[in-house]
Symmetry: C2
Subunit: 476 residues, 2 copies
């Protein structure tokens, strides 16, 4: 069985922690792991998983890689990546996974499709549900996982089970859109209705066949993009042909229309963390109903969620609030208005505000950088360069860079000379000087970079040809 | 006439903008000026002011000086400073001013005592009130300024006027404590009651005489501290004798007890900015009643005040809130609870939390520094060194310092060599190396300092004797 992880999303509902370049899978939970890391650990801990195939966007590829590598656990099954140039929702993403797996392992291979933006708290129950789903998938069913509702949610689609197909496996009678409160209450009381959790299990060939039948244009356009893309590792998709792929979810394109659709009802502690009121529940409440992650002083405050990184939050006389603080943006919202966070993001997108798109920390091929401070004529960054990685050979016309090694060892090629910088040592690279920075060591290299000059835009970077230029692909 | 400015305070009511080391006089208003700067400008623009004497605490002296110097206007009357080693409220501070003025100009000299923690919006009306007060002071009266109330405030003390003494000058019939709402309403309707604004005018000798009569212990202890302090510029007070001075306000010690007390009623647009709801009024409201200083996105939000420096604030579905953001601390409070900000500060003081005491920007004799970022093994500061100033000659045992000049020119003495660093140039000073940093230029020197090492506490600093050590007094 191949585990397929979909790593992406829009990054709106948990803003300011989630951003366009840092959507929900990258959100770190109170235990320090991201949802994406949890999805990978969930996948590799299932019995019989022979490969983990991750489908992600090119703007999320390095972030995804960095999350996986940060786990630093050995003995994984192979990790394979398919990289989409554009966001096209789940039906095309799963089709790419099915095509990749069919081509390499045959159309009979079973896929377990895991989304990376929800939480599963009972891995044992999940593994049991997967076993049942796998058996049904191997009989040709398209299997979805149904979550036993424990309250009349109006924010999820539901599905109704039909006749039993095997122990704990049912045919799906129908899918239903997000209901109003009254109908949701009815589903809960009647029984046999489940939340549609976005987890699927089917054979690669069965999915592609159903897609061809029920969404032939999606099938044809994805197949054409796949066939236009030269095989490489990781597998990038051809941008031009991928443009023609419609954006559509797997539910609309396939599951709601196909014939042999089954559901495995389960109760494995699923939570979609779809908004800040859901995310708040991960933090235990104090006797006043307050949930605090970070440093806070609360006076006469009730039922309030506070999440903060590094900054002290003081609240007085408030209740039912959500306060989420990040280095460059702060959210204060009433709990029953958390859905409107997307309106904030829409406004920011209209303004092309950076806080909609990225954090102060930006993931790169070689590691990451964080903008610590910007001001007139200067910008300060912390660079983290992974062992063995290096930035491209390049120069800047307008800025000088002054580096101090805070941890690890740096190798700097500057003009024709190589310098080795140890912890606490520093070096300046003046504007116009070709240079390359690498981490030859075995631990992360952490450097404080002070940029000075009249113009400090990221676009003042000229990559240079030559012996040192082989890494000039992307992302410095 | 000598203008006396009292520059100090506890820094609790406008936290997190005000701090123990950065009380209300240092608060910057939307126009960019601090209350202290406004007090100085108010003093020097009055006719007949021959000197401005500032009484301040030693922890506020350099901040006060920096505020005055930042105004960069010439042609001031002389600026004189008296520096208290401990906070003892207003009666002793004014006594020190009176002693200093008596000694240098004679006991008949008139003092106009201005507190630096309120706002006066009509300087013309203020100047007229001062003229009337001065005339009464010169007839031996202790004059206070009474603000015509425009609402039944319960947060101020009141005074009731008695018989007229001259045009616009009345005897004071009585002082009354902060009243309840009913009595405040009565005062407003009855008329002849004024808020006690904390602005005074009297002859130096008249004040000292009244203090000797009505608070002899305060008089004796202040006199003893004054006489125990060697004359110097600025005038520091002897710490040991000053310890014996009681902490008491001028109202309790003198004004409420003395006989020849007069009031000049006025309406010069006085505001005490005693809490965030008062400070919010300085920012115009939008049609939703929101007042915003800084960058904010407000959705379905009403009657809310947002003040932020550099960070984006998003608010959804809230009303009657105050949101004040600073680089290291955030306040979210209901408007009718702003008085409880002091409870937050009390909690922080109990925890010995830095956010009660200082900001990330710390004032020094030579300028200021701001901690931009701290992390394992590194700390980053921005230093601003005023023209002609220099830090002491010193070394650090545990940290190396790496400097990049962002603006201006630096002169660095390192071991026995002098280096001149221009904008965009950098230099490292390794742990154990004696060094001194100076600004030989005519504009502010701005340096980014990256500290690296195992221990980065401010106390790792050894001042060195010798030719270069003359500035080893204070504050590096």
């Amino acid at each position: 069985m191949i585990a397929v992880i979909l790593s992406g999303g829009a990054g709106t509902r948990l803003w300011p922690v989630s951003r366009e370049l840092y959507p929900k899978p990258f959100m770190r939970l109170p235990d320090g792991q991201s949802l994406l890391q949890k999805a990978l650990l969930r996948a590799v801990s299932l019995p019989g998983v022979s490969e983990v195939l991750t489908v992600t966007g090119q703007e999320h590829y390095y972030s995804t890689l960095n999350e996986y590598q940060a786990l630093r656990v050995g003995d994984y099954p192979p990790l394979v990546f398919v990289i989409e140039p554009l966001r096209r929702n789940t039906a095309p993403a799963i089709a790419l996974a099915a095509l990749s797996v069919s081509e390499r392992h045959g159309a009979d291979e079973t896929l377990l499709v895991l989304s990376a933006d929800h939480l599963i708290e009972d891995p044992q129950a999940f593994a049991e549900a997967v076993e049942r789903a796998k058996a049904a998938a191997q009989r040709g069913y398209l299997v979805t996982f149904g979550i036993q509702p424990n309250y009349p949610a109006t924010g999820f689609g539901y599905l109704e089970r039909g006749e039993p197909l095997a122990e704990g496996v049912y045919a799906v009678r129908r899918f239903v859109e997000k209901p109003d409160a009254l109908r949701a209450q009815g589903y809960l009381e009647q029984g046999g209705f489940y939340w549609n959790a976005g987890i699927f299990c089917f054979q690669a060939g069965a999915y592609l066949e159903a897609l061809q039948t029920h969404a032939p244009e999606v099938y044809r356009s994805v197949l054409r993009a796949w066939e236009s893309s030269p095989r490489e590792t990781p597998q990038y998709l051809d941008t031009q042909t991928f443009h023609a792929v419609p954006s559509i979810s797997v539910d609309y394109a396939v599951m709601e229309k196909a014939e042999r659709v089954a559901v495995v009802p389960s109760g494995f502690g699923w939570s979609d963390l779809g908004s800040w009121d859901a995310a708040a529940l991960l933090v235990p409440a104090d006797p006043e109903g307050n949930r605090v992650l970070g440093e806070a002083v609360l006076i006469d405050t009730h039922n309030t969620f506070v999440q903060t990184e590094g900054r002290l939050v003081a609240a007085i006389g408030v209740e039912d609030l959500v306060i989420v603080d990040t280095p460059d943006a702060l959210l204060v919202t009433r709990k029953d208005k958390v859905q409107d966070v997307k309106k904030v993001v829409e406004q920011l997108q209209k303004l092309e505000h950076e806080a909609a798109r990225e954090h102060r920390t930006v993931q790169r091929r070689w590691g990451s950088y964080t903008v610590l401070e910007e001001g007139p004529r200067f910008k300060i960054k912390r660079l983290v360069i992974r062992p063995g990685e290096s930035l491209s050979y390049h120069l800047h016309h307008h800025r000088s860079e002054h580096w101090t090694v805070v941890s690890g060892t740096a190798q700097v090629l500057k003009e024709d000379q190589t310098h080795l910088l140890r912890t606490d040592e520093s070096l300046s690279v003046l504007a116009g000087t070709p240079h390359r920075l690498a981490n030859p060591g075995l631990i992360d290299l952490v450097i404080i970079e002070v940029q000075s000059g009249e113009y400090l835009g990221e676009d003042d970077l000229v990559r240079l040809e030559g012996a040192m230029a082989e890494s000039a692909l992307a992302g410095d």
